[in-house]
Symmetry: C2
């Protein structure tokens, strides 16, 4: 079946939806056949991004490249065991239905949901964006405030660690877990260094790889109402600050994709 790439972080606003959308279009630009599933069934930022794109394409009378879209509903059962069973069945139905695609990018919600857990359990790659912040870091690992060293993994860090252990125990191909710093500023030298050191230490303890970070750039969010991304923009012949930022953004996405080492890109 296709490679399942889950974009996950139970911390809100880490950049999951932003990364899911931009990875999907970057992968399409590199020639892969891409599916997208938005498991944030309430807020649906990724679905809305793609809906906006379809509407904008209609409005302009110009087709725009679109990934193949999948959707799953959450159960509305008032008993959680019933709901979990319904969702497990829907999840299996989704897995049986994805054929002929190189990769499916799965956006997940902040917080913890059963559907998100099912997706994490089946992922080939989990990409976890985090803000350059110990508030976000706190979901991955706890920091000793005197030494700024990592004390232990915490909530989301443990969740992934357990999912990987269970997979390894079933002799399945291990989950590749990659953490990406997002919304990085050009300033904040001391905080950036400390978060970087904490990530490096935690990566060795709980086994994730660290990908090149993504900077805070208005181009990553400005085009949401039209469903466009910087990958739709023409090549800029000039060297205005805006186009320099777009060129840098393309490079960021390309560097990130290289580090993800996705099988379909290896050929």
């Amino acid at each position: 079946g296709p490679h399942l790439l889950v974009v996950g972080n139970e911390k809100g606003g880490a950049g999951k939806s932003t990364l899911a959308v931009h990875l999907a279009f970057a992968l399409m630009k590199m020639g892969l056949t891409v599916g997208v599933l938005d498991l944030d069934v309430r807020q649906r930022s990724t679905d809305r991004y793609l809906d906006n794109r379809a509407r904008w394409a209609d409005r302009c009378g110009e087709p725009l490249p679109m990934p193949q879209r999948f959707t799953l509903s959450a159960s509305s059962a008032r008993n959680l065991d019933t709901a979990d069973a319904e969702e497990a069945e829907a999840w299996q139905g989704f897995r049986d239905s994805v054929k002929g695609l190189d990769i499916v990018v799965i956006d997940t919600p902040g917080g913890v949901t059963h559907l998100s857990n099912l997706a994490h359990g089946s992922a080939d790659t989990v990409v976890t964006p985090i803000n350059d912040s110990f508030v976000d870091f706190d979901l991955l690992g706890t920091i000793n405030p005197a030494t700024m060293k990592v004390e232990r993994p915490s909530l989301y860090g443990e969740m992934i660690w357990d999912a990987r252990k269970r997979r390894a125990a079933r002799d399945k191909k291990p989950i590749d877990w990659v953490v990406v710093r997002n919304r990085m500023s050009m300033l904040d030298a001391r905080n950036k260094r400390r978060v970087g050191e904490g990530l490096k230490e935690l990566s060795q303890r709980i086994g994730f790889r660290i990908a090149p970070g993504v900077c805070e750039r208005v181009i990553y969010r400005e085009l949401f109402p039209r469903g466009l991304t910087l990958l739709d923009m023409g090549q800029f012949p000039d060297d205005t600050p805006a186009s320099m930022s777009h060129v840098a953004a393309r490079q960021e996405l390309r560097d990130l994709l290289i580090v993800l080492k996705l099988p379909a890109l290896a050929g």
Copy 2:
């Protein structure tokens, strides 16, 4: 009873916990007796901020001003109707227990939870931070991509609107709803203007007030491991960029508090 200030936005990472903590300490600095309740029962960023502070105070052997802390558990019942009933009872217990405080600041999780809904329903003031982004805006209202005008309120915008209608229908004091732009950058002129115009239009349609925004500043997040805030920092005699940012940050919080028009501050 005390003024209930709920910091709410179902959009993740809008800055709820950051604002909840900084508002609490700013209000204490202005002489109010302040309580804090963290309703993000899983991630508990606000509880962890305050736990870090208590540990740091111990470590330094120096007491630090602390708000009065409250806590509520989510129900673990597998039947949602049972869970809702248990939480409604716990919520009432909390309301009966808060005495002798000017104000309680209530942090809520991203997403939708029953406890968060109960808090929104009882709020005197709801403060909603949002990122300067149409991705965040999308939870308040939908934008027409051609005109960039507001089409209609959406998920969270409707949720608050309904809560306010129900309160008004019971002849109760209306909820004061205030939206605060957060993590504002000094750049992004066009996007900033568009989001600003969208907010202004939506505020007239669904009835929130817009408070002065809060900028992206590393000082708002850098001190989390020690549970400190810029309000604990001494006055800086120098004019380095860092201390200029701290001075500006204090002013931002003060300007925001003035606009909140909290009764206890009116005296």
